[in-house]
Protein backbone atom coordinates (compact mmCIF):
# COMPACT_ATOMS: atom_id res chain seq x y z
CA UNK A 1 0.00 0.00 0.00
CA UNK A 2 1.90 3.01 -1.18
CA UNK A 3 -0.76 5.59 -0.32
CA UNK A 4 -2.69 5.68 2.93
CA UNK A 5 -6.18 7.11 3.32
CA UNK A 6 -6.23 10.61 4.65
CA UNK A 7 -7.50 10.50 8.24
CA UNK A 8 -6.78 13.27 10.66
CA UNK A 9 -7.94 13.61 14.23
CA UNK A 10 -8.40 17.35 14.12
CA UNK A 11 -10.27 19.37 11.54
CA UNK A 12 -7.98 21.18 9.15
CA UNK A 13 -8.05 24.88 8.51
CA UNK A 14 -9.27 25.99 5.09
CA UNK A 15 -8.98 29.75 5.29
CA UNK A 16 -8.93 32.59 7.76
CA UNK A 17 -11.30 35.48 8.32
CA UNK A 18 -9.83 38.36 10.33
CA UNK A 19 -7.45 35.97 12.02
CA UNK A 20 -10.10 33.40 13.01
CA UNK A 21 -9.36 30.05 11.36
CA UNK A 22 -12.29 28.47 9.57
CA UNK A 23 -12.01 24.68 9.49
CA UNK A 24 -13.83 22.25 7.26
CA UNK A 25 -16.16 21.16 10.06
CA UNK A 26 -17.20 24.78 10.73
CA UNK A 27 -18.14 25.00 7.05
CA UNK A 28 -20.34 21.89 7.30
CA UNK A 29 -21.96 23.19 10.48
CA UNK A 30 -22.80 26.43 8.68
CA UNK A 31 -24.41 24.52 5.82
CA UNK A 32 -26.45 22.43 8.28
CA UNK A 33 -27.47 25.62 10.08
CA UNK A 34 -28.71 27.21 6.86
CA UNK A 35 -30.64 24.01 6.06
CA UNK A 36 -32.19 24.14 9.51
CA UNK A 37 -33.18 27.79 9.05
CA UNK A 38 -34.85 27.02 5.73
CA UNK A 39 -36.74 24.15 7.35
CA UNK A 40 -37.82 26.30 10.27
CA UNK A 41 -38.99 29.20 8.16
CA UNK A 42 -40.89 26.90 5.84
CA UNK A 43 -42.67 25.27 8.81
CA UNK A 44 -43.56 28.66 10.24
CA UNK A 45 -44.99 29.97 6.99
CA UNK A 46 -47.02 26.80 6.47
CA UNK A 47 -48.47 26.98 9.95
CA UNK A 48 -50.05 30.33 9.14
CA UNK A 49 -52.01 29.00 6.21
CA UNK A 50 -55.38 27.32 6.09
CA UNK A 51 -55.10 23.70 7.35
CA UNK A 52 -56.23 22.23 4.06
CA UNK A 53 -53.58 24.00 2.03
CA UNK A 54 -50.49 23.09 4.05
CA UNK A 55 -47.88 20.96 2.39
CA UNK A 56 -46.75 17.57 3.64
CA UNK A 57 -43.48 18.83 5.12
CA UNK A 58 -45.54 20.56 7.79
CA UNK A 59 -47.25 17.35 8.78
CA UNK A 60 -44.03 15.35 8.88
CA UNK A 61 -42.35 17.90 11.16
CA UNK A 62 -45.50 18.05 13.27
CA UNK A 63 -45.46 14.29 13.75
CA UNK A 64 -41.78 14.41 14.72
CA UNK A 65 -42.34 17.16 17.27
CA UNK A 66 -45.32 15.40 18.79
CA UNK A 67 -43.42 12.14 19.20
CA UNK A 68 -40.54 13.97 20.85
CA UNK A 69 -42.92 15.79 23.16
CA UNK A 70 -44.55 12.55 24.28
CA UNK A 71 -41.14 11.05 24.79
CA UNK A 72 -39.94 13.88 27.03
CA UNK A 73 -43.25 14.03 28.84
CA UNK A 74 -42.54 10.60 30.30
CA UNK A 75 -39.43 11.94 32.03
CA UNK A 76 -40.12 15.57 32.82
CA UNK A 77 -43.88 15.59 33.34
CA UNK A 78 -45.52 18.98 33.59
CA UNK A 79 -42.33 20.99 33.12
CA UNK A 80 -41.71 19.63 29.63
CA UNK A 81 -42.94 22.72 27.88
CA UNK A 82 -40.24 24.87 29.47
CA UNK A 83 -37.35 22.74 28.30
CA UNK A 84 -38.80 21.37 25.09
CA UNK A 85 -37.25 23.98 22.72
CA UNK A 86 -33.75 23.32 23.99
CA UNK A 87 -34.04 19.54 23.92
CA UNK A 88 -35.55 19.44 20.43
CA UNK A 89 -32.88 21.82 19.16
CA UNK A 90 -30.19 19.55 20.55
CA UNK A 91 -31.78 16.50 19.00
CA UNK A 92 -32.33 17.93 15.52
CA UNK A 93 -29.01 19.77 15.38
CA UNK A 94 -26.94 16.74 16.40
CA UNK A 95 -28.97 14.41 14.18
CA UNK A 96 -28.57 16.58 11.07
CA UNK A 97 -24.87 17.06 11.70
CA UNK A 98 -24.28 13.35 12.23
CA UNK A 99 -26.08 12.46 9.03
CA UNK A 100 -24.43 15.23 7.06
CA UNK A 101 -21.09 13.44 7.40
CA UNK A 102 -22.49 10.49 5.43
CA UNK A 103 -23.56 12.39 2.32
CA UNK A 104 -21.40 11.50 -0.70
CA UNK A 105 -18.93 14.29 -1.22
CA UNK A 106 -18.34 15.07 2.43
CA UNK A 107 -14.82 13.98 3.22
CA UNK A 108 -14.01 12.98 -0.34
CA UNK A 109 -13.96 16.30 -2.19
CA UNK A 110 -10.48 17.67 -1.62
CA UNK A 111 -9.10 21.15 -2.10
CA UNK A 112 -5.53 22.18 -2.35
CA UNK A 113 -4.17 24.54 0.25
CA UNK A 114 -0.80 26.08 0.58
CA UNK A 115 0.56 25.68 4.11
CA UNK A 116 4.17 25.73 5.25
CA UNK A 117 5.20 26.31 1.64
CA UNK A 118 3.95 22.90 0.48
CA UNK A 119 0.72 21.92 -1.14
CA UNK A 120 -1.53 19.46 0.60
CA UNK A 121 -4.94 18.18 -0.17
CA UNK A 122 -7.50 18.41 2.57
CA UNK A 123 -11.20 17.52 2.53
CA UNK A 124 -13.48 20.45 1.91
CA UNK A 125 -16.29 19.31 4.19
CA UNK A 126 -16.30 17.13 7.27
CA UNK A 127 -19.16 16.16 9.56
CA UNK A 128 -19.66 18.81 12.25
CA UNK A 129 -19.78 16.46 15.20
CA UNK A 130 -16.67 14.63 14.03
CA UNK A 131 -14.71 17.54 15.47
CA UNK A 132 -14.02 17.54 19.21
CA UNK A 133 -14.57 21.30 19.39
CA UNK A 134 -18.24 21.02 18.41
CA UNK A 135 -19.01 18.23 20.84
CA UNK A 136 -17.13 19.91 23.67
CA UNK A 137 -19.10 23.10 23.07
CA UNK A 138 -22.40 21.21 23.10
CA UNK A 139 -21.41 19.31 26.26
CA UNK A 140 -20.37 22.44 28.18
CA UNK A 141 -23.56 24.18 27.15
CA UNK A 142 -25.69 21.24 28.22
CA UNK A 143 -24.13 20.93 31.68
CA UNK A 144 -24.16 24.68 32.34
CA UNK A 145 -27.80 24.85 31.24
CA UNK A 146 -28.73 21.99 33.57
CA UNK A 147 -27.22 23.81 36.52
CA UNK A 148 -28.83 27.14 35.63
CA UNK A 149 -32.23 25.43 35.23
CA UNK A 150 -31.70 23.87 38.64
CA UNK A 151 -30.90 27.25 40.24
CA UNK A 152 -33.91 28.81 38.58
CA UNK A 153 -36.30 26.08 39.68
CA UNK A 154 -35.03 25.51 43.21
CA UNK A 155 -33.53 28.82 44.28
CA UNK A 156 -29.89 29.40 45.17
CA UNK A 157 -30.10 28.07 48.72
CA UNK A 158 -31.65 24.75 47.75
CA UNK A 159 -29.23 24.42 44.85
CA UNK A 160 -26.26 24.70 47.21
CA UNK A 161 -28.04 22.26 49.53
CA UNK A 162 -27.76 19.69 46.75
CA UNK A 163 -24.04 19.63 47.31
CA UNK A 164 -23.16 20.94 50.77
CA UNK A 165 -25.39 20.66 53.82
CA UNK A 166 -24.32 22.14 57.15
CA UNK A 167 -26.20 19.55 59.21
CA UNK A 168 -24.38 16.57 57.69
CA UNK A 169 -20.60 16.91 58.03
CA UNK A 170 -19.93 14.08 55.59
CA UNK A 171 -21.53 16.13 52.84
CA UNK A 172 -18.29 18.09 52.46
CA UNK A 173 -16.68 15.07 50.83
CA UNK A 174 -19.75 13.95 48.95
CA UNK A 175 -20.42 17.49 47.73
CA UNK A 176 -16.93 17.80 46.29
CA UNK A 177 -17.34 14.44 44.57
CA UNK A 178 -20.61 15.65 43.06
CA UNK A 179 -18.92 18.76 41.71
CA UNK A 180 -16.19 16.63 40.15
CA UNK A 181 -18.87 14.42 38.67
CA UNK A 182 -20.39 17.47 36.95
CA UNK A 183 -17.08 18.01 35.19
CA UNK A 184 -16.86 14.36 34.26
CA UNK A 185 -20.29 14.69 32.65
CA UNK A 186 -18.82 17.28 30.28
CA UNK A 187 -15.99 14.94 29.29
CA UNK A 188 -18.34 11.99 28.98
CA UNK A 189 -20.84 13.82 26.73
CA UNK A 190 -18.09 15.21 24.51
CA UNK A 191 -16.18 12.00 24.05
CA UNK A 192 -19.19 9.77 23.60
CA UNK A 193 -20.50 11.81 20.67
CA UNK A 194 -17.08 12.53 19.17
CA UNK A 195 -15.87 8.93 19.51
CA UNK A 196 -18.94 7.40 17.90
CA UNK A 197 -19.09 9.74 14.92
CA UNK A 198 -15.36 9.98 14.28
CA UNK A 199 -14.91 6.21 14.56
CA UNK A 200 -17.75 5.79 12.07
CA UNK A 201 -16.03 8.10 9.60
CA UNK A 202 -12.70 6.30 10.00
CA UNK A 203 -14.44 2.96 9.51
CA UNK A 204 -16.11 4.08 6.28
CA UNK A 205 -12.87 5.53 4.95
CA UNK A 206 -10.82 2.43 5.71
CA UNK A 207 -13.41 0.02 4.30
CA UNK A 208 -13.72 2.08 1.14
CA UNK A 209 -9.95 2.11 0.87
CA UNK A 210 -9.67 -1.65 1.17
CA UNK A 211 -12.60 -2.67 -1.04
CA UNK A 212 -13.97 0.21 -3.08
CA UNK A 213 -16.97 -1.58 -4.57
CA UNK A 214 -20.14 -1.81 -2.48
CA UNK A 215 -18.43 -2.96 0.74
CA UNK A 216 -19.23 0.27 2.55
CA UNK A 217 -22.97 -0.19 2.17
CA UNK A 218 -23.77 -2.16 5.37
CA UNK A 219 -21.48 0.17 7.33
CA UNK A 220 -23.35 3.16 5.94
CA UNK A 221 -26.62 1.74 7.27
CA UNK A 222 -24.92 1.15 10.63
CA UNK A 223 -23.71 4.75 10.66
CA UNK A 224 -27.18 6.10 9.94
CA UNK A 225 -28.47 4.09 12.89
CA UNK A 226 -25.60 5.13 15.17
CA UNK A 227 -26.07 8.80 14.28
CA UNK A 228 -29.73 8.62 15.27
CA UNK A 229 -29.00 6.75 18.51
CA UNK A 230 -26.26 9.14 19.57
CA UNK A 231 -28.47 12.18 19.03
CA UNK A 232 -31.21 10.47 21.03
CA UNK A 233 -28.82 9.50 23.85
CA UNK A 234 -27.40 13.02 24.16
CA UNK A 235 -30.87 14.52 24.34
CA UNK A 236 -32.19 11.89 26.71
CA UNK A 237 -29.26 12.25 29.09
CA UNK A 238 -29.70 16.03 29.14
CA UNK A 239 -33.41 15.52 29.80
CA UNK A 240 -32.73 13.12 32.69
CA UNK A 241 -30.13 15.42 34.25
CA UNK A 242 -32.52 18.37 34.03
CA UNK A 243 -35.25 16.32 35.69
CA UNK A 244 -32.84 15.28 38.46
CA UNK A 245 -31.78 18.89 38.88
CA UNK A 246 -35.23 20.36 39.24
CA UNK A 247 -36.69 17.65 41.46
CA UNK A 248 -37.20 18.58 45.09
CA UNK A 249 -35.72 15.74 47.04
CA UNK A 250 -34.65 15.50 50.70
Amino acid sequence: MERKPHISLKAEKIFEIFGIPITNSILSSLIVLILFLILGLNYFRESKKDPLKRNSLYFIVNFLLKSLYNFFYGVLGEETIKYFPLLTSFFLFILLQNWFGLIPGVGSILIKINAHNTHHFIPLLRGGTADLNTTLGLAIFSVIFTNIASIKALGVKNYIARFYRIKEPISFFIGSLEIISEFSKVISFAFRLFGNIFAGEVLLTVIAFLLPMLASFPFLILEIFVGFIQALVFTMLTCVFISLGISKHH
Binding site: L9, F71, G74, V75, F191, G195, M236, L237
Partner: protein, 75 residues
Amino acid sequence: MNIEVIKIIMISLTITVGSIVPGLAIGKIGIQAMESIGRNPEAEAGIRTTMILVVAFAEALAIYALVVALILKFT
Protein backbone atom coordinates in the same frame (compact mmCIF):
# COMPACT_ATOMS: atom_id res chain seq x y z
CA MET B 1 12.02 -4.28 19.97
CA ASN B 2 11.94 -0.76 18.71
CA ILE B 3 9.37 1.86 19.57
CA GLU B 4 7.28 1.43 16.41
CA VAL B 5 6.55 -2.21 17.13
CA ILE B 6 5.63 -1.47 20.74
CA LYS B 7 3.35 1.33 19.60
CA ILE B 8 1.41 -0.92 17.22
CA ILE B 9 1.06 -3.67 19.80
CA MET B 10 -0.17 -1.23 22.44
CA ILE B 11 -2.71 0.34 20.08
CA SER B 12 -4.33 -3.00 19.39
CA LEU B 13 -4.19 -4.05 23.04
CA THR B 14 -5.85 -0.79 24.13
CA ILE B 15 -8.95 -1.28 22.06
CA THR B 16 -9.13 -5.03 22.56
CA VAL B 17 -8.84 -5.12 26.34
CA GLY B 18 -10.86 -1.93 26.67
CA SER B 19 -13.92 -3.51 25.07
CA ILE B 20 -14.10 -6.63 27.21
CA VAL B 21 -15.72 -5.17 30.31
CA PRO B 22 -18.19 -2.84 28.51
CA GLY B 23 -19.28 -5.79 26.39
CA LEU B 24 -20.02 -7.88 29.46
CA ALA B 25 -21.76 -4.95 31.13
CA ILE B 26 -24.07 -4.32 28.17
CA GLY B 27 -24.88 -8.02 28.06
CA LYS B 28 -25.87 -8.03 31.73
CA ILE B 29 -28.01 -4.93 31.31
CA GLY B 30 -29.78 -6.56 28.38
CA ILE B 31 -30.46 -9.74 30.30
CA GLN B 32 -31.99 -7.89 33.25
CA ALA B 33 -34.07 -5.67 30.97
CA MET B 34 -35.53 -8.63 29.12
CA GLU B 35 -36.30 -10.47 32.34
CA SER B 36 -38.08 -7.49 33.80
CA ILE B 37 -40.09 -6.90 30.62
CA GLY B 38 -41.07 -10.55 30.74
CA ARG B 39 -42.20 -10.24 34.32
CA ASN B 40 -44.07 -6.98 33.82
CA PRO B 41 -45.04 -6.40 30.19
CA GLU B 42 -46.99 -3.22 30.97
CA ALA B 43 -43.90 -1.24 31.91
CA GLU B 44 -42.16 -1.98 28.64
CA ALA B 45 -41.78 1.64 27.45
CA GLY B 46 -40.21 2.82 30.70
CA ILE B 47 -37.87 -0.14 30.90
CA ARG B 48 -36.81 0.30 27.30
CA THR B 49 -35.98 3.97 27.81
CA THR B 50 -33.99 3.31 30.96
CA MET B 51 -32.16 0.45 29.31
CA ILE B 52 -31.04 2.62 26.39
CA LEU B 53 -29.83 5.25 28.84
CA VAL B 54 -27.74 2.80 30.86
CA VAL B 55 -26.37 1.12 27.72
CA ALA B 56 -25.17 4.57 26.56
CA PHE B 57 -23.23 4.99 29.79
CA ALA B 58 -21.63 1.56 29.47
CA GLU B 59 -20.83 2.02 25.80
CA ALA B 60 -19.11 5.33 26.53
CA LEU B 61 -16.35 3.46 28.35
CA ALA B 62 -15.57 1.42 25.26
CA ILE B 63 -15.60 4.64 23.23
CA TYR B 64 -13.02 6.18 25.58
CA ALA B 65 -10.70 3.22 24.85
CA LEU B 66 -11.34 3.65 21.12
CA VAL B 67 -10.52 7.36 21.24
CA VAL B 68 -7.24 6.67 23.06
CA ALA B 69 -6.33 4.07 20.42
CA LEU B 70 -7.17 6.51 17.62
CA ILE B 71 -5.09 9.26 19.23
CA LEU B 72 -2.14 6.91 19.53
CA LYS B 73 -2.44 5.82 15.95
CA PHE B 74 -2.82 9.19 14.29
CA THR B 75 -0.33 11.32 16.16
